[in-house]
Amino acid sequence: MTALWSRAGSFAVVTVMAGLAGGSFHRAFGWGPLTGPVALAAVVPVIAVALLAGTPRRRRVPLSLSLPLPTSLLAWAALWLGVVAVTLFWHGSPTVPGVLPAVGDGLLNGWARLLAVTLPAPDSPDLLVVPQALTWLAAGVGAELVARTRTVLLPAVPAVVVFVAGVTLTVSAPGSNLLVAAALVAASGLLILCRRAEIRSLTTASGRGGSGSSASRAVIGVVAAVAVAAASALIGPLLSPGHGRDPYDIRAHRTVPLHPISTVNPLDQVAAWLGDPGRLLFAVRASAAQNGTQNGTPDGTQNAAQAAAQNIRLAVLDRFDGQSWTSSARFQPAGRQVPAVAGELPRSGELRQDVEIDGLDGVWLPAMDRPVRLDGVGLAVDVDSGVLLSAVPVRPGRRYTVVSAPQTIPDATVLALSQPATDADADAARYLPPGLPDSVREAARRGSVGRITPFQQAFGLEQYLRGTFSYDSLAPAGHTYGHLNYFLTRSQRGTSEQFATVFAVAARVLGLPSRVVVGFAFPGGPRTADVRTGDVLVWPEIDFAGVGWLPFYPTPEESRRGGTEVASSASGESSERARRAEAAAAVPVQYPTAPPSAPPVVRHAPLRVYVGVISGAVVLACALGYLAVAAGSPVARRRRGRRARIPRTRVVGAWHSTHDALAGAGIAIPAAATPAETVGIAAAGIGASGRASLASLADLVTTALFAANGIGPAEADKAWLHEKQVRAQLRRVVPLHRRMAGRLAPSQVIRGRRYR
């Protein structure tokens, strides 16, 4: 194979590797939108470099561009700018108007957005520019390294770095990069073959022989490739979600908090909306998702039925300071999917909602619980609660699509025995600010009297409020401690605002983590429904371990208007939920109840055993490998040095072998020591006869290294004779255990590599 063809092969492999590295972002974008930009970014710079570099040259060329550096940089920037503007930003960017400002914005801020957005990310150009630019860089730098250096594996490093970046940035997304990693390893092997062939051709052409160690280097390369492949195969599965532990996710450190302080608290709007119940807020077209499969088989008929009874959430408020309920949500830019949260029952079926905003204002976006897929511009999501937010205040005509997975209602027994959650968030959701009115405490006591389990206590509270107090859509607004006390002790009439907040505070009195949700009772009926202000409904939720946040509906029907215009629990609560809740309340539980057994925990014993065995095997293999390298590499170096064809190389090999022996005997020779200085340093440790041999060897190696001539086969033989004498002397004066310890020392193994 000629150098030209070998180089062409190297360029091709670098192109493939850069493409694969850019492809590692497929977990964020999917292959569809990613393939075009990445493929172009992998091909164009390599072609440009190949054209600039020309044919392979016999002499090493410094690592520099052919053109003067500023000119080259300008040319590269212009070429990249042209390609990226045409392929990605031709139709503009959702973040910045204008092609060039959008490119600059994407380049500067794209990576930060990619870190912040939930995965999979939308295929917007300001995000796609990140893998495109990295792929371009990997391809360009890799090709330059191919063209300008004679390194074998170095051209693969940029692609590997980009691959690592891709894996790191997308580790929490569904999918796997194992196949990409395996392809990268295979491509690295091809690169080694191409590069070695090219270097061999150039070396032969320039009349310089090889080093004679090509076979061993190839073996080392293969071993390294196999090791990397094995490591990726072992570690890779552990990085993918769903194997008992979460993989390290750098994105966890990059949550972007958005505090919708400037907008009106939706809870404060409830009374106003109920006072004008006919105003259109938004329209929803609910239908069964076509390709939705989350933890179950899609069932369009059932989903449509569920859609009729699924409330639409607007805001989740989980912090109460005695005056107002606020949200602790931390919103981040939403991608195309919303990741699931742990500690919930599996959800089944999916509901698609096409939402068009009309009279709704603010930044909160209505959606059914719990969004799993999104399609819209400028969406943000709180992953914990699944609440959606708009990056800019909504305007009439704003459209977006949400696919939600409805919550599965557990059967009565599970409900009855469910225990409150105990994590940190739940503790915060139990917090009661000072000043709690006695009336609320009394309501909690009365609602839970005779109820045994936490769910039954919550259900009892729900029924107590629903049966004791009246719904009045014209009741005064407010949910402070004072308002609650007024509601419980004086007016005893209120809207869902008061019912829900009284329930939530009373639940906290009972030790139940609670929050309130502001949303809308979905009217059902036709698939396209208008949601009006009268549909607003506030309901509380309790966090149960292993189940998630369960809604309760303490708001009764409005008696004055007959419940025809405003929503109540009757329109918000599904019949299935009501039936199961009543059944759970009736589950006989002895008092005092024994702590119900925790939800069955899936033990990953086989996985742990597998990981343990694999880890042990890896450790053992590493130890054996280290011993083999530590013991074998000096022997291999010695053999290689002795068998060198050129006498000068043999003399240097004898010197290196002597260095190995000295280091193994604990006589450290600094790298800055000349052969003559080495004799002085080692003199004390090797005795007089050893010193004479070492001095003679130092003279020989000095001549071999620095003289124009003067080394023949006889001198090479003498050098190895001196080496043998020094070794023999070392064996006499240095104990065996010291020599063994010296040979196995890591510094000895690393030092040996430097002599290559």
């Binding site: 310089r208 240097v652 800055a672 000349t674 003559a676 000095t702 071999a704 290294l705 620095f706 124009a708």
Partner: protein, 323 residues
Amino acid sequence: MPTSGAGPFDFATAFQALVDNVELVVRGKTEAVSLALTCLFAGGHLLIEDVPGLGKTSLARCVAASLDASCHRIQFTPDLLPSDVTGVTVYRQGSGEFAFHPGPVFAHVVVADEVNRASPKTQSALLEVMEEGRVTVDGQPHAVPLPFFVVATQNPVDMDGTYALPEAQLDRFLMRVRMGYPDRQSEVAILRNRRSGMRVEDLSPVLSTDEVLALVAASARTHVADTVHEYVVDVVSATRTLPRLRLGASPRGSIALLRAAQVRAAAAGRTFVTPDDVKALAASVLAHRLLVAPDAELRGYTAEDAVREVLESVPVPRSLAGV
């Protein structure tokens, strides 16, 4: 180990003969003498620095006296003018023409005694002639004879009545040699022989100027391996990145170090340069080109310490070039 062959200009023999001749007067300073002669055969100029009374001027005069060459001595004083060094153009009434009257710098060996006592203007008069081997007066260049060897002595700059040599002029000296105090035995010998011992005037030349030029050319042919070239560059480059140095050595320093190493190798009878030659000469060739950072200087850190630090950190070549 291969050695340089014997012949009419056997370098090692001639070098040793010169050393022996100088040491007839300068006792106990073998290394300083060898360095001075290395500087001569490397085609450079020598700066001898130390406190008064240590034999700086004697060494310079002895080197001059050992060569069958013209030798002028200039005693630098604060009122010395540049024209006192380079020469002047005078009007000759008889011929009615201007004629150049050469200054004392026109000699094979110029001993510039206490060079740092003259004003910077006069010091700079030496710049052109040291670098280019010629003097330009009234726009006319006048070449100095070859070999041209400036041996300057100076007192440490912190002594009274001295002007520090500018960096540009220091860089033009191939070496700076410190004499140092003689050891006890040598000092006793100096006292004992102060009446009967040899004086500079008693020395006989051992080499002619042609022989010196031939030996200079011979030393320049000493083989330097590519790895040694790289080692020299590594050493000099390291001085440019040392945090405690304000200024590292210039490429002129690299050339000087390599050239001096060639002479040392030839003087040792070798036909090739080794890293030992580079290490042995690095302090003398590089130290005066380095500027120590003020904070390091306050802690007693010297340029020689910097060179030592560099030599202890830069790995010597251990593999063949290209292998």
